[in-house]
């Protein structure tokens, strides 16, 4: 195990956990759960943000409430992501270093898919920081960074699908699908407001392409046996009793 501070912490936590239970680590479950919740919160954030641009408001949800919710839900998402990162770093099993959460392509565990998470996190960090400092920085700087939101969400989704242990669970797939539907719908509303028809067509085409690509990816990726290995799970972790390896739901016995 690494002797870096993160590593030592993991070591200690690992000893504690191994001593306390036999079976799935609570930290690993925390990481997975907070990841799913974070995705839902980010979905709501995007929807509320676009609702703001579309000037959608009602008696129940006046403009300031909607705008305040957008801000607070995004901060809650950040909180969940912080727990998500810390629990995956602290869990000794996958050996994910703290730096891998921020620096892409620096982890041994499913490097590509984890890096997507790091990239999404970096973007979200920039988004939130500039938004908190909104009144002190030039409006154009804030606006330019805020556009990253449209990139951040799909990257976060694919990170979840690729890294996530639970991607093949039906309820997770349904949840992912529902979130994707909400975001696609919101993006459609936003594109409808776009000035030029060129932007509109291009936007709708890329959104549709993304949805199709995601479905295809899920079908040939996480849903197929052997995904864990293909995704880059280190060989030492494959085939162990740890629930990090992919096991088709319903199958008992040693996983492959």
């Amino acid at each position: 195990m690494a002797t870096a501070p993160g590593g030592q912490l993991s070591l200690a936590a690992g000893h504690v956990l191994a001593a306390s239970s036999y079976g799935p680590s609570p930290l690993w479950y925390t990481a997975r759960a907070t990841g799913v919740v974070a995705l839902i919160l980010l979905t709501i954030t995007v929807a509320l943000g676009i609702a703001g641009t579309a000037r959608l408001s009602s008696e129940l949800l006046p403009g300031i409430v909607r705008s305040g919710l957008h801000r607070n839900v995004s901060l809650l998402a950040v909180a969940f992501i912080v727990v998500h990162v810390l629990s995956s770093v602290l869990d000794p099993y996958a050996g994910i270093k703290l730096t891998s959460a921020i620096v892409p392509f620096s982890s041994a565990y499913r490097p590509f898919w984890l890096s997507l998470g790091a990239i999404a996190f970096d973007m979200l960090f920039a988004l939130v920081l500039t938004s908190l400092l909104r009144t002190r920085i030039p409006y154009r700087a804030w606006s330019a960074v805020h556009w990253l939101g449209y990139a951040c969400w799909p990257i976060a989704l694919w990170h979840g699908l690729g890294t996530g242990t639970d991607s093949r669970l039906s309820w997770v797939l349904v949840l992912d699908g529902a979130c994707a539907l909400v975001v696609a719908g919101a993006v459609g509303v936003r594109l409808n407001l776009a000035g030029s028809s060129l932007t509109r067509t291009a936007g709708l085409a890329s959104t549709a392409a993304f949805v199709v690509a995601t479905i295809v990816f899920v079908a040939v990726g996480p849903l197929q046996p052997g995904w864990a290995r293909r995704a880059g799970t280190p060989a030492s972790m494959l085939g162990s009793a740890h629930p990090a390896s992919d096991r088709a739901p319903g199958r008992t016995g040693a996983a492959r």
Binding site: G52, R55, P62, G63, I64, S67, R134, T135, Y139
Partner: protein, 86 residues
Amino acid sequence: MTMTLQVDPIACTGHGLCADLLPELIELDEWGYPILADSVPPDLVAHARRAVSACPALALRLVRRQHQLVPRHQSSARRARYEGDR
């Protein structure tokens, strides 16, 4: 020394959040754009600051004025006289 609210008319796109937060001083015209009162009484300054930071376009500003001798609309008319060479 009085505080006044000012709006940048080009940046403002009529979101209307300012009027939600400060109905005492900000009213929306029939097209959704803010009509501002002449000055901000001291007890509403905190609310005014909140309205300023709530504007999605950052079009609202709170400024200090030495003296508000001339009501807003008339001073605009005077400004209009000297501005603009056609």
